[in-house]
């Protein structure tokens, strides 16, 4: 299935740029939403449920895990595919993230078109 919209949660402006560019190159029809930390992401999600979320872990104010906790508790409807996108590949972090049933994938930066393809497949 085609992805209609993706929320990118990352504090790094460069990473946001890479994600947006890669997504546009992959499919320019996809709507890209942006949030610079977990708290902003929750605000965006209150008004919109995208098909997928790309989530960084290390962010100021509210990091990826805190966001996942709040997202699990406060939302009944979740985005079908939540993919972690981090710069380091630590088993401990991966295990912790995969405990949430809506977290489907764990990718390492930078975002590649292949990652998006996997997400599209997961969407069904």
């Amino acid at each position: 299935m085609k992805i209609q919209s993706i929320l990118v949660v990352d504090d790094d402006e460069n990473d946001q740029f890479i994600c947006e560019y890669t997504i546009r190159k992959y499919d320019s029809a996809i709507r890209v939403l942006k949030a610079f930390d977990g708290a902003e992401a929750l605000n965006v999600l209150r008004g919109d449920t995208p098909d997928a979320i790309i989530l960084d872990i290390n962010m100021p104010v509210m990091n990826g895990f805190e966001f996942l906790d709040r997202y699990a508790q406060e939302f009944e409807v979740h985005a079908p595919v939540v993919a972690m996108l981090t710069s380091s590949h630590l088993g401990k972090d991966r295990e912790r993230a995969m405990q949430y049933d809506f977290v489907k994938s764990y990718f390492e930066k930078p975002l590649e078109p292949d990652h998006l393809r996997v997400m599209a497949e997961l969407l069904g």
Partner: protein, 650 residues
Amino acid sequence: MNWQWSWQRANLAAGIWCLVVGIGMMTFWLMEPVDLAGHLPFLFGMKFNAALAAVMTGAALLLSARGLRTLPTLLLLVVLIYGVLALSQHVLAIDVGIDTLLNTPFMDIGTSRPGRIAPNTALCFILVSLALMLRIIRRKTDTVQVLLGLSAIIIAAAALVGYAIALDIAHDWIRFTRMSIPSASCFIALGMSIVFVDTEETGYHRSTLASILGLSTYLVLLAMAYYELARYETAFGITFTADTGNGRSTLTSLIVISGVLYGGLVAHLYFSSRRARRMADDLAESRARLAAVIDNAVDGIILIDDRGIILKVNAACTRIFGYGSDDMIGQNVKMLMPDPYHRDHDRYISNYQRSGEAKVIGIGREVEGRRQSGEIFPLDLAVARIDLNGATIYSGIVRDISERKESEHALIDANTELEEFAYRTSHDLRSPIASSMGLLKISRMMLADGDLKGLAQTLQRMEKNFGRLDHLIQNIITITRNRLMEEEKSTISLRAAVSDAIDSLSHLEEFRRIRIENHIAAELTIISNPSKFDVIVGNMLSNAIKYHDPQEAQPRIDIRALRSAGGIRLSVEDNGLGVPPASRHLLFRMFKRLHPNRSFGSGLGLYILRKSAESLGGTALYEARDKGSRFIIELPVEETHENPIDPGRR
């Protein structure tokens, strides 16, 4: 100590006895109480000369005990010469005219010539005066003196016993010349003093000497009795000889056998007393050794009974718990424990006694102790059960492990911090690299598409990434250097150091918008490590500049320093963005960035600030203001020792 004291008193008593007896007898001889002499003739057995010699000997003993030497020696010399002369009159059958020289006796009792003393009395004077002179000259006791004293006692004691059992030869060595009872008492007193006072130090045990004395006196009496018996046999023609014809009467045999038995008994007593004494010495020594081991042990050792009452504690316990040993002994051991051990200790004991199930006994574990000050501290406790003569006691060995625990915690903290550092560093190092790899790929695509404008922007992003990476690595280098650097302390002028730091930050783009004021008094100095101090000041200022409020019409930073009790308080105050209350607990921790949209920092700045301040013995503090922040560093101040050759050298 007490024994020594009483033996010294025996010395005194002997001297006084001689003086009293001697002076009393001389008085009698001078007063010539004829009636008294008629009724109690035996009192006058001691001649005037003997009484005088006894006075002189007693005086010499008392004087020498007070430390005098010459006068007592002279007195004793006179006594000795008199003794020799008196004895030689008997032995050589001569008369040197000393018997009535000083006093002509008004009556004669127990003597061969008026005023003449008995040969055994003369011999005793020789022995006693010689022994006392030797003691004064040599300033210590020796075997010769002991032997002389023993001989005098034996002769005098035999005479006294002779009076008691009517064995005349014991006091009458020559017919009609006897040692009187007063004389004999003086010789025994003097002899005792010679034999027993201070002789323990030379290795003679008093009990040994007493045994020898008793045995010798007995044997001498035995010999005399035998001699007397033989004399009667010859004199009166009576034969006590038994029918067996071996020339020895049953009576004599009995006397001899009893003498031998007595001697054997005394010898046995002597040896067993010596053995008992040696065992007692060994026991005392081993007890002393054990006590020394226990008292000098580094660990505390506590003995309690089966009710938990403290029986004994060693010195280490008083050091560990802060109580004196008297405050602990007799108390329940739970006084040394905080709750829940304090509350439950009685139950532990009764449980153990009922079920035999040990929680600590024979196992050892980590528990908590309570000092007199109320401080609770961790300790290692090992308890052993000791069964002694039907009673059970418990010995506890306690070791104060608070220092070990502290360093353990410090180590765990340091390790946790290091782990976090490694995790965050690897993440934050990879982050700009991963980003640049993505950007590189995009650049290639842009180049292929001919999008040169996009390409220029992407290259700019990459440049920013590398700048970030470089900044992070610089910060890591700062941390490592701070941790490892050995640096000489020197006098730092606070105002100058802050001015330098402000100048070095002037390249920051926001710099020109902000009014920075250095209020520090020019004369304020601190002795510290210059590099670390520069890191601190640089961090505080760059933070204040970075997190200024762009909306603020007049952004400003004020730097102040005050000398407070025992330290310097340096504050950097701004009217910038401040720190949201919810995030304040994250300040000074590594890799915490609190301003998401302005986070070009590595997240290490305040962490470096805190670590640097701590390594200089100070602290880093944050105070919120109505608008903005105040970061404070408190550093200890050391006395200024300016270099006299180069004052103010940095």
